[in-house]
């Protein structure tokens, strides 16, 4: 060793002299490590649970924003901001026209047949209940029964009172829920002529087309489409 090595050795030894000299019990060291490992495991498991719950929450909220199934309550506002429209015959057969969330409430002996198109976005148009209509919009045969399970969001819905096919006369109530307004139960009050039904239907079609166009435009711009109504 030369002088320089002595200098380095001295420096290192001088440093090492200040090293701690106590020798802890190895059992304590092991216990500390195991406790640390256990805590990390618990934290990791907790993190996984939290992440899983957050994922489920995100999934659930995404499901809420997507169109639901007819008859299920909606937690998001509907796409239309205009007042719900209900019109139709009272007790008699005829065409009832309504826009919005529709709840069918019928007495057990009531037979209500009709057509309803569920036109929520991103969901294939479905007919929840149909009855063949002639050119005047009148039922050809009473083939289908509308009941509570058919309730749902309808952009337009034509119902044909079926008292002519059953007795006593139907006491159908249509409940329309729009947005955050309290549920409004509307008893069908007026009959609707085929011409008027066609006009309302055309208006609804125009609204639907405008909404689709708007959604398409927003999608092209990369903006998320607006939260749509629906059940």
């Amino acid at each position: 060793m030369n002088d320089f090595d002595d200098i380095i050795s001295g420096a290192v030894a001088g440093r090492a002299e200040h090293a701690p000299t106590n020798v802890p019990d190895f059992g304590d060291i092991l216990a500390t490590r195991q406790e640390r490992l256990r805590r990390r495991t618990v934290l990791a498991a907790g993190g996984l649970v939290v992440a899983g719950l957050a994922g489920i929450g995100l999934f659930a909220s995404a499901a809420d924003e997507s169109p639901g199934v007819a008859g299920e309550p909606s937690t998001t506002p509907p796409r239309f901001d205009e007042a719900p429209q209900t019109t139709g015959p009272s007790g008699d057969s005829g065409i009832w026209y309504c826009v919005g969330r529709v709840t069918f409430t019928t007495t057990p002996t009531t037979t209500v047949a009709g057509t309803g198109r569920d036109t929520r976005p991103n969901e294939p148009t479905t007919t929840t209940s149909t009855v063949p209509l002639d050119s005047a919009g009148e039922p050809v045969t009473p083939t289908t029964l509308l009941n509570e399970s058919d309730s749902g969001y309808y952009e337009h819905c034509r119902l044909v009172g079926a008292d002519e096919f059953s007795t006593p006369a139907p006491t159908t109530t249509v409940t329309v829920v729009e947005g955050t307004a309290p549920p409004m139960t509307t008893t069908i009050v007026a009959s609707l002529s085929p011409e008027e039904a066609a006009r309302l239907e055309a208006e609804a079609e125009a609204r639907r087309a405008a909404a689709q166009e708007e959604a398409r435009r927003l999608a092209e711009e990369g903006t998320a489409p607006p939260t749509t109504g629906g059940g």
């Binding site: 320089f4 090595d5 200098i7 380095i8 050795s9 001295g10 420096a11 290192v12 030894a13 001088g14 440093r15 090492a16 200040h18 090293a19 701690p20 000299t21 020798v23 802890p24 190895f26 060291i29 092991l30 490590r33």
Partner: protein, 154 residues
């Protein structure tokens, strides 16, 4: 392999712990800068040896490698966290040592070589076995480290 290592190899873990804890803390204290870090490195190394004690041929050598690797890892982590070079030690400190301050500023690998050579008094071959590197690499890096220190100190 030194004779003390051979003895330690045959010894039980308790004997290894009793005989080697303090020397390993001294080595770790040269490698890292704080008492807490040195103790943590050594304790982690002993836990690693404890888990594999029956299957290790040379527990003392394995322990030393664990300590050196733990110290280098801690230095690397510390540098990554701070993203800045080590701050120079305070020259007004009574324990301040210019030579060791120069050692502190060496890269972690070279600092480990210097610690093994001058604190543990290992030969080039023993250092090569501890760090799992060719003996030629040990010689060249040690030469580079000593040249740097010589320049710094003079």
């Amino acid at each position: 392999m030194t004779s003390s290592e051979t003895t330690a190899m045959r010894a039980t873990f308790d004997e290894l712990y009793r005989n080697k804890y303090r020397p390993m803390v001294r080595l770790a204290y040269v490698l890292v800068d704080t008492t807490e870090d040195a103790e943590q490195v050594v304790q982690d190394a002993f836990v690693a040896v404890y888990k594999r004690f029956d299957s290790i041929d040379n527990p003392a050598g394995y322990l030393r490698t664990c300590v050196v690797n733990g110290g280098r890892k801690m230095l690397r982590r510390r540098r990554v966290v701070r993203r800045t070079p080590d701050a120079p030690a305070d020259p007004t400190d009574l324990t301040f040592n210019h030579a060791f301050d120069a050692i502190r500023r060496l890269p972690a690998d070279q600092r480990a070589l210097v610690a093994l050579r001058y604190e543990q008094q290992l030969t080039d071959a023993e250092i090569a076995a501890t760090l799992s590197m060719p003996i030629g690499t040990v010689k060249s890096r040690l030469h580079r480290a000593i040249s740097t220190l010589r320049k710094e100190i003079s």
